[in-house]
């Protein structure tokens, strides 16, 4: 039963989803005035998402509570995490996300921390620029030349050196061609490949070949 029930539930959901997406009459099926079956399924999925969110909160609390209880390394950070996450969450639920204190905490703590983490990339790239980006072989040379051209075109200095009004549209024209032709082509190829991989994986799940998500 531990295997069959989750598998059957999953199969029902896949069939329902496919049916209501692909079959016109099912898509338009109305139970009562303003009550579309497809809408009800969509709402049910939203509640499932909410359930998964709740499960995440329980799991998060369990993991950090375990760290505190067993005094694992850096357990103090787990204590901070639990207290802050629950306090901020409960306050937000009671007061709403438009509350001045709630939004101030977001604006002066969360937002700057997020921006700071992202900003550190500038220093990582600077560090990598003179130590890692090397022209070791043909492939890396091609990559370096292309990266150089796009980067120069992205900075105002590029326009000062080779104007977009001149031959070939300057660095800007070359960048546009690189992004619009080879990059777009490769990007599409990757997208199509990922999509086909997704479809193949879905069929593996439907046919019961792929069972790892059921902890088998």
């Amino acid at each position: 039963m531990k295997r069959e029930v989750p598998y059957i539930l999953m199969l029902i959901m896949i069939v329902l989803r496919f049916a209501f997406e692909w079959i016109g009459p099912l898509d338009a099926w109305v139970l009562a005035d303003g009550m579309k079956v497809r809408s009800l399924i969509s709402w049910a999925m939203t509640w499932m998402g909410f359930g998964a969110f709740g499960l995440g909160i329980v799991n998060f609390t369990r993991v950090h509570y375990g760290n505190i209880r067993h005094r694992r390394e850096h357990w103090m950070f787990s204590a901070y995490t639990i207290v802050l996450a629950w306090a901020y969450g409960i306050y937000g639920v009671i007061k709403g996300n438009n509350d001045p204190l709630f939004s101030t905490i977001f604006r002066v703590v969360s937002e700057p921390l997020d921006a700071t983490m992202f900003s550190l990339l500038a220093f990582f790239i600077a560090s990598a620029a003179y130590r890692a980006f090397r022209v070791k072989n043909l492939e890396s040379t091609v990559m370096m030349v292309v990266a150089f051209l796009v980067m120069v075109a992205n900075v105002p200095f590029g326009e000062m050196i080779w104007s977009s009004q001149s031959w070939l549209g300057g660095f800007s024209g070359i960048r546009t061609w690189i992004l619009a032709t080879p990059t777009a082509a490769v990007s599409r190829a990757i997208s199509i490949g990922a999509f086909l991989g997704g479809v193949a994986n879905t069929w593996r799940v439907v046919l019961g070949i792929e069972r790892r998500h059921l902890a088998h």
Binding site: N98, E111, P112, F118, A129, R134, A147, M160, A184, S187
Partner: protein, 277 residues
């Protein structure tokens, strides 16, 4: 000089960090005014869409980003939203990211106040509404926007009390033919490519997403693209209202220049070392 170049790759990273910090901070404090060139294929179509819209037309926008992309995308949102108010358009905003809703909630009020100070009508509920993040079922919004959003906006107002929302019961191509999404990742433009393929979609994205979005721009699935901070600066230039993006572009330009110089010097150092065995 040769010895310096040979040993360049062994230079203390702290020196590099200091150079980078100076390149980023000094232009912010003392703008240089480097030239900004408008991209005709990406930025111009977004500007032309708003510029050529008639007063009273409804446009939607989506704020799907967080603090990490705030510096790049908020100037885009700011310039675009000001332009809407300037042209007398009616803007309705949603968010697929809760963080985006929190950021835009304050920002839009600030821009609306600036537009009103400049003599344009930007009254909340009449000229613009911000619904925010509602954990929405996006496809259902096409049929019943009110119900899907719980009949309330980001600020807690009931849709019944907002005159603009009386015209926006559904979000379809008939309500609004075009909209823009300011996105930093997923969920992002994909939501709209699937569910609003009959509308004109415009995108404002962070610079790292530009390469990925180029393919959907070339296939005309999206009609225009604001590319990172540069896109925002270009929009500000077209609008004739220099803002944060214009001054920050100097810092970004110098930062990129430092990286280019480092790559060149690092490679010269590598080649010289290789030659010497």
């Amino acid at each position: 000089m040769r010895e310096f170049l040979e040993r360049f790759s062994e230079i203390n990273p702290r020196i590099i960090y200091l150079v980078m910090a100076c390149a980023l901070i000094i232009p912010v404090l003392q703008p240089i005014g480097l030239p900004i060139v408008v991209d005709e294929e990406t930025t111009k179509p977004v500007f032309d869409w708003i510029e050529n819209s008639k007063p009273g037309e409804i446009v939607f926008f989506d704020v799907s980003y967080g603090g990490g992309s705030n510096a790049e995308l908020s100037p885009q949102l700011e310039a675009w939203f000001y332009h809407c108010m300037q042209k007398g358009l009616k803007a309705v905003g949603v968010a697929q990211w809760e963080t985006g809703a929190m950021i835009a909630g304050d920002l839009l009020k600030k821009v609306a106040a600036a537009a009103e100070a400049d003599g344009y009508s930007a009254e909340y509920g009449v000229d613009w509404v911000f619904i925010g993040y509602k954990s929405m079922i996006w496809r259902e919004m096409r049929e019943d926007l009110w119900k899907t959003c719980g009949n309330t906006d980001f600020y807690g107002n009931n849709f019944e009390d907002l005159p603009l929302m009386q015209k926006v019961r559904q979000w379809t191509a008939e309500t609004s033919k075009a909209f823009i999404i300011f996105e930093a990742g997923s969920p992002g433009v994909g939501t709209y490519l699937v569910n609003w393929a009959d509308c004109d979609i415009y995108v404002g994205c962070v610079a790292v997403n530009v390469a990925g979005n180029q393919s959907i721009l070339r296939s005309r699935q999206i009609k225009g693209l604001l590319a990172g901070l540069g896109g925002a600066a270009q929009y500000e230039k077209l609008l004739g209202r220099p803002g944060d993006a214009t001054s920050l572009m100097d810092a970004q330009g110098l930062g990129h220049a430092v990286i280019i110089v480092l790559i060149v010097l690092g490679n010269i150092s590598y080649i010289l070392k290789k030659k010497n065995g």
